[in-house]
């Protein structure tokens, strides 16, 4: 490791430093505000340091990590999302009695895990990143430990995550046993000549898919999602839905493109089945759901299915589509859970459909933001979700994945039903609010609303004028393409 390596790992180092700072400050002086500032600063600094990296092209720290455009993009996405979530968290935790400060510590750590995940090129770094992410998440989910549901969600996630990690590890071991290497690139070289993969290797890949699939929450490894989404505090749910899944998607793309998994019909078939099953199961499960957090959980299952469509398209366009979609999806999800966090009171989150009754008349601006988020999830124009879905569909059509494209269309329609159902609830005649959120300090309120407004503007911005983002994605991904298609 030389100085250059350190320079390239700056974002990670900043995060680590932030975590340690937090730890130290907590031990000296528990103050929510200061911890919050440190956290936000470290996310911001880490994000800022990315701009240094972006210009330098692919830089690999053998054998574990690589910093290329793809990595920079995904890290940036993860860091920005984490920053936004931390901003929303402040208002959420301010009104609760629990010790708030460690939350930020865990948040930084799991973000760190996600960052490691997207830059890893080796099973070991993969495993490390994944576990940093996961272990921090267990605690985050169960953070509101006085709530039964929070604990229940935590233990369910813990057991299942560890269970699926075991699959992932075992799968990695089998791949290692069969190829003799744990580097992605070397694995690719080892199997490059083979048209027919050995059984051991295939079994290994299969078991790895279990682990990856679990993290993504795709069918049939999706069952944890609703319970964990419901149990976790709203900002944490947002974090699981975005950072944790985004990291995994980044890894999946990197690995799959590296080993060129699209050559193997078996793998493509498995992912196709998973994609279609996720879309249908997710949407059908969400159909009559009355709990908004669960509903968003089910919808996230479906959205992972949509993402897999673009992923399966497998070309440059597919990767760009996935990246674009992730941006839109992250904005939307953070926004939606941000709204839920804002409306929650001390005792419980504003998660029942009835909590939103008449919201459009009670708090028109909040409701408008939420409507924008929901419409984006549904893929309606003027929002980023539309462009994302359009892009995915385009990628699918281009590769002539008609089955997947048509399933996507059908599912968009099913999905539309429950999104507009929430909207319909919001414009029902106003009633007395069943849940009265804690009266925030004006400055905090303005900050949270500002964050949400910013998200909405971003969302509409990329929906109306996607050119800039597309430009960014294609330039940033250029270096990755060089690596991936060498």
């Amino acid at each position: 490791m030389n100085a250059n390596d350190f320079l390239h790992l700056m974002p990670l180092l900043i995060l680590t430093f932030g975590a340690i700072m937090n730890m130290l400050v907590i031990s000296v002086w528990r103050n929510h505000k200061i911890i919050y500032v440190i956290t936000a600063m470290s996310f911001l600094a880490a994000f800022g340091s990315l701009f240094e990296l972006q210009v330098q092209g692919a830089y690999s720290i053998d054998p574990l990590l690589v910093i290329d455009g793809f990595a920079v993009f995904y890290m940036g996405l993860v860091l920005l999302t984490a920053l936004l979530i931390s901003m929303l968290s402040y208002a959420y935790f301010e009104q609760r009695e629990e010790r708030k400060e460690e939350y930020y510590l865990l948040l930084i750590l799991s973000t760190l895990g996600a960052c490691v995940l997207v830059i890893s090129t080796h099973f070991a770094s993969l495993f490390l990143g994944l576990e940093i992410l996961s272990v921090a998440l267990y605690a985050l989910i169960a953070y509101l430990r006085k709530r039964e549901r929070s604990d229940e969600g935590g233990i369910k996630y813990l057991i299942l995550a560890a269970f699926s990690s075991a699959f992932l590890l075992f799968g990695m071991a089998l791949v290692y046993a069969s190829t003799g290497t744990m580097e992605f690139a070397a694995v690719a070289i080892a199997i490059a000549g083979l048209t027919e993969l050995p059984l051991l290797l295939l079994t290994g890949f299969g078991m790895m898919i279990v682990g990856v699939g679990f993290k993504l929450g795709v069918v049939p490894f999706h069952m944890w999602t609703p319970d964990v989404y419901e149990g976790a505090p709203a900002p944490v749910t947002a974090f699981i839905a975005t950072v944790s899944k985004g990291g995994m998607i980044g890894l999946l793309i990197r690995f799959f493109i590296e080993v060129d998994g699209f050559r193997y019909p078996v793998l493509v078939l498995i992912f196709t089945i998973i994609a279609i099953a996720s879309m249908f199961t997710g949407n059908l499960l969400a159909l009559q759901q009355q709990n908004v957090k669960r509903l968003l959980a089910y919808s996230s299952i479906a959205h992972m299915g949509y993402l897999l469509v673009a992923f399966l398209a497998g070309n440059e366009m597919g990767v760009q589509a996935v990246s674009f979609y992730l941006v839109a999806y992250f904005i939307t999800t953070v926004g939606a859970f941000g709204i839920i966090a804002m409306l929650s009171d001390k005792v419980r989150d504003a998660e029942q459909l009835s909590d939103f009754k008449g919201l459009l008349w009670r708090r028109p601006w909040t409701a408008t933001i939420f409507i924008a988020m929901l419409l984006s999830l549904a893929g309606i124009p003027l929002t980023g979700g539309f462009v994302g879905k359009f892009y995915i569909l385009a990628a699918g059509v281009r590769t002539e994945l008609w089955l997947l494209a048509v399933s996507l269309v059908i599912n968009s329609v099913i999905g539309l039903y429950y999104y507009i159902k929430i909207i319909a609830v919001m414009f029902q005649p106003a009633e007395e609010a069943t849940i009265i959120p804690y009266k925030l300090q004006p400055s905090i309120y303005v900050a949270s609303m500002g964050t949400l407004t910013l998200l909405t503007l971003l969302l509409i911005g990329i929906g109306v004028y996607p050119t800039a983002l597309l430009q960014l994605i294609s330039t940033v991904l250029e270096t990755f393409q060089v690596v991936a298609y060498r």
């Binding site: 124009p381 539309f386 059908i410 329609v413 597309l470």
Partner: protein
């Protein structure tokens, strides 16, 4: 730029109306009234200014702006006679929609007008967009405000209706999106330029198989929107549950976007596939005419009844579109306009009645002629229009459609003509149940007031004018229609490899012939 300003005007007016409610509760009405008035005047001005250049080319104005260059998406708008007519209709009905909502909508006035103007903006965009991506964009944009209009200000079963409307149109729209993408890639793979530009895509050579599938994708959206039996079932619910302004816009404009789409996209893009499909399409049209008429006959909810008459009338549209001759297409254009007026008027009447009686059940009405003769006369005129009485606009539309359809298919035309008898049956039932017979409930129905007469009078004048002297409208639509038909005037089995068939549609950027007669003020090319 004027085309863009039209859309921006509506969007801005909508936002302004929403915001303005904070300051004065009545201000949104005035704002949207003036916005639409301005838009209407602007389009009428376009009409009068571009009259001279009509003979040269179908296109009056064009606007090209890059939007998403990576994908070959441009912000391209263009205006020809057909779009111009549709715009005039849009703003006219929009104006009426504002007027009828004057008293009907009493809560959330600002938000209502925001939605109203945004729907109209979406519709305007649909009529102008010459980029398939942009077209789809507007196609979807008009749905959400409409969903709000139905869902918030609708009648008792509004949520169900709003869902149904949204889901049907969205599902079919997505199929169109698939087809658009398919076309985009096929064209791109063939020529190397990936673009959504309508004029470029006209040159795409497609294998028959591909053309068929792509056409079905487009048809899905337009046939559902039109609607054609068996995809009509969203319509009665949406129409009957929407507030009056919503029903007027739904029936008067939203359905027309389907017809417009058929004319603008399906016919020129897939000349061979449509010819193949034409008999089935015409059959669907005839089924629609008859099925809609039968269902209309049995309804007891006035708005539902009128909604089913729309199904029946729109059958003529598809019948005419797939007859591929100028008579039929002119008939279709006329039908789009006159149906917008006549059905719009019937919905408005239903709205008046609902305001007074708080019911739409025609079994509880009757004998209103005695107390409301003005309303009765207005209703009579539009009921007669809907059954196709000569002298009123709908007759011209239906007769031309049928004359044209006859050239294409005799037997189907015969059955379509029989639909006129069934139209008589349901139309007369409207008069009978509402204005004639005894007044069972002993309701004293107040007659129309000045504001209501102000709404009805222009519609009456227009429907009569269109019935007696429709030539200006026909002239305006003629070049556009001839352009759409160009592909069919060549021998009936054109080879898809031959791009020269369709070059007439495409205006090379350098070709200034099309624009030389234009008033400089409207010269829009960058």
């Amino acid at each position: 730029m004027i085309l863009l300003w039209l859309i921006v005007l509506l969007l801005a007016g909508g936002v302004l109306a929403w915001v303005a409610q904070r300051f004065h509760p009545a201000s949104p009405r005035w704002i949207s009234l003036f916005t639409l008035l301005a838009a209407l005047l602007l389009t009428l001005m376009l009409w009068s200014n571009t009259g001279a250049s009509l003979t040269d080319s179908a296109w009056l104005l064009r606007l090209e702006q890059p939007w998403v260059p990576q994908w070959g998406v441009g912000f391209s708008l263009a205006l020809d006679g057909l779009s111009l007519l549709m715009l005039v209709l849009t703003f006219f009905l929009g104006l009426l929609a504002v007027l009828i909502s004057w008293r009907e909508i009493q809560h959330k006035v600002g938000f209502f007008h925001f939605n109203l103007l945004w729907v109209l903006a979406g519709i305007t965009g649909v009529f102008l967009a010459m980029d398939l991506f942009l077209f789809y964009f507007f196609w979807e944009v008009m749905l959400i405000p409409m969903y709000f209009l139905i869902g918030i200000w609708g009648h008792e079963n509004r949520r169900y209706a709003a869902y149904k409307f949204f889901l049907f149109t969205q599902a079919s729209g997505l199929l169109m999106l698939l087809a658009i993408l398919g076309l985009y890639f096929m064209h791109g793979n063939q020529t190397g330029t990936f673009t959504f530009n309508y004029f470029e895509l006209l040159n795409t050579a497609l294998t028959p198989q591909a053309a068929r599938w792509l056409m079905f994708g487009f048809l899905a959206a337009f046939l559902v929107k039109l609607p054609v039996v068996p995809f009509h079932s969203w319509l009665p619910d949406a129409h009957s549950q929407a507030p009056t302004a919503g029903s007027v816009i739904l029936a008067g404009l939203l359905l027309k976007t389907g017809a417009y789409g058929l004319l603008r996209f399906v016919l020129p893009l897939f000349p061979t596939a449509t010819v193949e499909f034409a008999p089935y399409a015409m059959l669907l049209g005839v089924i629609g005419i008859i099925y809609g008429a039968i269902l209309a006959f049995s309804q007891t909810d006035l708005k539902r009844l009128v909604a089913y008459t729309s199904v029946s009338h729109m059958g003529f549209v598809i019948l005419g579109v797939f007859a591929f001759n100028e008579w039929a297409l002119q008939g279709v254009v006329m039908q789009m306009i006159t149906h917008g007026l006549s059905t719009g008027a019937l919905f408005i009447l239903a709205g008046f009645l609902y305001e007074r009686l708080h019911t739409r059940d025609i079994r509880q009405m009757g004998g209103f002629w005695a107390t409301a003769p003005k309303m009765a006369v207005v209703a009579l005129v539009f009921v007669m229009a809907s059954l196709g009485l000569p002298g009123l606009g709908n007759f011209i539309a239906e007769f031309l459609t049928l004359v044209g359809a006859w050239q294409a298919n005799n037997w189907l035309t015969v059955f379509a003509t029989i639909g006129l008898v069934l139209a008589t049956a349901y139309s007369l039932r409207i008069m009978q149940k509402i204005f004639l017979e005894k007044n069972l409930e002993q309701t004293v129905l107040p007659d129309m007031n000045a504001r209501e007469m102000l709404i009805a009078a222009p519609m009456l004048v227009l429907i009569l004018w269109l019935g007696l002297y429709p030539q200006p409208v026909l002239d305006l639509a003629k070049p556009a229609i001839e352009a759409q038909l160009q592909a069919y005037n060549t021998p009936l089995v054109p080879e898809p490899e031959e791009p020269s068939i369709q070059t007439a549609f495409y205006l090379p950027a350098t070709d200034s012939v099309y624009f030389q007669n234009l008033n400089e003020a409207f010269y829009e090319r960058k």
